[in-house]
């Protein structure tokens, strides 16, 4: 099968980006920010 394996154009996360994705204090902050963003978007849709 012809597949696209490793498209080198795709940006890959650095070690610290990957660390912060599951670093709980940072993700708690993100949790609040994403919720606020989603609430704003939902308000706009309702």
């Amino acid at each position: 099968m012809s597949v696209n394996k490793t498209d080198q154009q795709a940006p890959l996360p650095t070690h610290s980006t990957r660390f912060f994705r599951t670093f709980v204090p940072w993700q708690l902050l993100k949790f609040i920010l994403i919720n606020l963003k989603m609430i704003r978007m939902i308000r706009r849709s309702h």
């Binding site: 012809s2 597949v3 795709a10 708690l28 978007m41 849709s45 309702h46």
Partner: protein, 485 residues
């Protein structure tokens, strides 16, 4: 007394039923007709399909909910709509085929003053020979399918534990599929579970999709601001796949499936084959195939439905080129143009056209995502239509009907990549509006303030919390109506 009949107890129909009941005094009747007395929160089937959640956790028995709310429930499948009545009886009605344990197959007529068609899709596995749980591939479109998929997936994991390499093929099973986001989410969960089972090195994970490029999701892709740049969802999705070692095939129309092998054509017109040990390929959707008849018994299905079986509503269905597509083509009140007391919500309404630019292969085969009607817009549309009907029933005709065009609604898509509170992450994406509006947002068609993408545990927590909130809401527990769709 008015009678509101709702066909289908899925995300759109169940939401519509709960809001209709909340708005209408008990002197008015709300009836739900659905083949099963069980509600399925379909988005969580993804987790069932990899064995990370049991199917019991994604369903809600409907009878106790409806008994508590004062909604009548008929277990059956609507097969005919008679918008002008039948013979001597000049009032509108639907014909329902019983699917309950008693009197299975028997037909009955149910009269209505207002009808909401929320019958969702027919899972059209037959469009691709060999596709689906009756053939050679798995599905996660229903909780039963997801259970079966989990069995097959865990069997493949066992093979890998014995040291055998397995190819897992996940994606869309036809060139005209929709719901690519679900396949995308499933492949990320499969990859996560393979790592959790410590067999990732034994697996080749391949995503196959009818999208022209990764990250299209049937909405023509999207753009968001990240790290001081405006990036496309293509880069975002490719990055996720490269990082996880997931290979991909885009612009693919699966022609047929045999045991362990798919045959597909790509946009360049070339034919290919791919071998697999486990495959989860979504089917294309059509309408559920209800017929419509006039009072004399003449077939008027074409007045109510488009040829693909989805119901005509207040959209602009005139044939237009992609360059002429407008946000204004999309329906606002979901009312049938010929019969003003018939509405269609969720996947059951016929979209005016795709969102992604249509493409055909070099051989002329259409390979292009059909427009998604995901959970959030389906439920919002269900609520708005139910509230508008309540206004009509209550004689509040001076109020302008509320609108819910997909060109003015946003959508949140949280594609979980692993069902674990601490190590699981999710790609959270929101877009506004769903249908790009280049008149309002000339550059990208969407408002970048409300369109964003992010990856992390926070997204997974949101997805998990949403699961519990939506199950709570489906059970109509106290203050259910405060939970947004």
């Amino acid at each position: 007394m008015a009678r509101v009949v709702i066909l289908g107890a899925g995300i759109a129909g169940h939401t519509a039923a709960l809001f209709a009941r909340r708005r209408l005094p008990r002197s008015h009747q709300v009836i739900v007709v659905s083949p099963k007395d069980i509600y399925n929160w379909i988005p969580s089937n993804i987790w069932v399909g990899v064995g990370a959640m049991s199917s019991r956790e994604v369903v809600v028995p409907l009878r106790p909910v409806y008994a508590k709310m004062g909604i009548d429930f008929v277990q059956g499948r609507a097969v005919e709509i008679h918008p002008e009545g039948t013979g001597a009886v000049g009032t509108p009605r639907v014909v329902v085929e019983n699917t309950g344990e008693e009197a299975t197959g028997q037909r009955r007529e149910i009269g209505y003053d207002y009808l909401i068609n929320a019958t969702g899709p027919k899972l059209n596995f037959a469009a691709t020979p060999g596709l689906g749980p009756e053939g050679f591939t798995q599905s996660v479109c229903t909780y039963e399918h997801a259970d079966k998929a989990a069995g097959a997936f865990l069997a493949a994991v066992e093979e890998m534990k014995k040291g055998r390499t397995q190819t897992l093929l996940i994606g869309t099973g036809h060139g005209m599929c929709t719901c690519e986001g679900a396949a995308f989410e499933f492949v990320l969960n499969v990859e996560f579970e393979l790592r959790r089972h410590q067999v990732r090195d034994k697996a080749r994970v391949v995503f196959i999709s009818n999208e022209p490029e990764l990250g299209d999701f049937g909405v023509g892709g999207m753009h968001f601001k990240r790290g001081g740049y405006v990036v496309s969802s293509k880069l975002f999705a490719e990055s996720l796949f490269v990082e996880r070692g997931v290979e991909w095939i885009t612009g693919a129309h699966v022609q047929k499936v045999e045991a362990g092998k798919v045959f597909y054509e790509t946009l360049d017109g070339e034919n290919h084959e791919a071998a697999f040990d486990f495959a989860m390929l979504l089917p294309p959707f059509t309408g559920t195939g209800m017929k419509a008849l006039d009072r004399a018994g003449q077939d008027i299905t074409a007045d109510l439905f488009m040829p693909n079986g989805f119901m005509k509503v207040d959209a602009d269905y005139s044939k237009k080129d992609y360059a002429q597509w407008k946000a204004a083509d999309w329906p606002k009140t979901y009312r049938n143009p010929k019969y003003a007391n018939i509405f269609a919500v969720g996947i059951a309404f016929a979209p005016p056209h795709a969102i992604t630019r249509p493409r055909v292969s070099a051989k002329g085969t259409p390979i292009s995502p059909a427009p998604p009607r995901t959970g959030m817009p389906s439920a919002i549309i269900g609520r708005v239509v139910a509230n508008n009907i309540a206004d009509l029933v209550l004689g509040r005709t001076q109020r302008r009907p509320k609108t819910a065009s997909m060109a003015a609604l946003g959508a949140a898509c949280v594609a979980s990549a692993g069902a674990n509170w601490w190590s699981g992450t999710a790609a959270s994406m929101t877009m506004y509006p769903i249908v790009p509006d280049f008149e309002r947002f000339p550059e990208y068609g969407r408002d970048l303030k409300f369109t964003f993408g992010d990856i992390g545990s926070a997204g997974h927590w949101i997805k998990k919390i949403l699961h519990y909130l939506f199950i709570y809401k489906a059970k109509a527990l106290p203050m259910w109506w405060m939970i947004p769709e």
